[in-house]
């Protein structure tokens, strides 16, 4: 459960989930909505994947992300957005990423 809370604590990741509500989007399309570096976005995607809140499919050179929320997670996301819950450590984070991750997400 802690991975889900960690994933939902960050406003950027919540915005990613919100964008995915409309339908699947590529990593590039999602990154275009944020003013953050690609490695940072890549780390955010990794956290969401680890919490199993999103599903990723590789189509050629593009990674497509799709929402994968249970009802409880959906409700938690709604509450988090309503009350703007976030942890101090997660706000404005710029997590370290590996070169492999960055290369993967650049596609």
């Amino acid at each position: 459960m802690s991975t889900v809370f960690k994933a939902l604590a960050d406003p950027t990741r919540r915005k990613v989930l919100q964008l995915l509500r409309a339908g699947p989007l590529s990593a590039g399309e999602l990154a275009a909505h944020f003013d953050v570096s690609k490695p940072t976005m890549s780390a955010h995607f990794a956290v969401l994947r680890e919490a199993e809140l999103v599903d990723s499919i590789k189509q050629g050179t593009t990674v497509i992300y799709r929402l994968k929320l249970s009802v409880l997670e959906d409700a938690l996301l709604g509450f988090a957005q309503l009350f703007g819950i976030s942890t101090q450590a997660d706000d404005g984070m710029d997590p370290p990423t590996t070169a492999t991750d960055e290369a993967k997400e650049n596609t």
Binding site: M1, V4, E50, E52, R66, K68, L69, S70, V71, L72
Partner: protein, 189 residues
């Protein structure tokens, strides 16, 4: 769902197995003439662990551990209701606590299974449908459990069934509507 580590899941299952045996033992002491009913329940979880340990080559999968934990919790809750009724701590009608506990367990089961329905989506179209189905059944299951917990006993069954049935009818209507709109769309084969 990555909710807990494998070690935590195993510890939780063992704790639930211990709880089942403890409550079972208490019931054997309270109602010795019905020990034949509680002893198999107490033995069930340790027996599954033992059989798996003896015959399975790989460690027990997490899904199986979770299923065992769920089963143990249901058995514990049901036996606890019987035990509390025997102690007569609450002034309730005979069999009321067991009936209410059973209703809460059924409602909880509906919630647990409906909760993961949206995760099974394979396309955007199905995602919307499964999200609706999941939400409706979770709310229906929740209402079922709450009604059994709080409503007056003579009304509980009717109200709980009405709540769950409403959810099922809404889900069926949405599925039918989705199938109809699929077959009417020009791209449908």
């Amino acid at each position: 769902m990555t909710y807990a580590s494998a070690a935590t899941t195993t510890r939780a299952a063992m704790a639930v197995a211990a709880l089942t045996m403890l409550i079972g033992g208490w019931l054997c002491w309270l109602l010795p003439e019905r020990s034949w009913a509680w002893l198999p329940v107490m033995a069930a979880m340790p027996l599954v662990w033992l059989i798996h340990r003896q015959f399975a080559a790989a460690p027990m999968p997490r899904s199986m551990i979770n299923a065992l934990t769920g089963a143990g919790l249901m058995l514990s809750l049901a036996m606890l209701a019987v035990a509390l009724e025997q102690l007569a701590w609450f002034s309730v009608e005979p069999g009321e606590l067991s009936k209410r506990a059973f209703g809460v367990i059924i409602g909880g089961l509906v919630v647990a299974y409906a909760n993961v329905i949206p995760k099974q989506a394979t396309s955007a179209r199905r995602a919307g449908l499964l999200r609706f189905c999941g939400w409706m059944l979770v709310l229906g299951g929740l209402a079922y459990a709450v009604v059994w917990l709080l409503a007056p006993l003579p009304w509980a069954q009717v109200l709980a069934m009405a709540a769950l049935l409403t959810a099922v009818v809404l889900v069926a209507a949405r599925v039918l509507w989705s199938v109809r709109s699929n077959s009417n769309s020009p791209t449908a084969s």
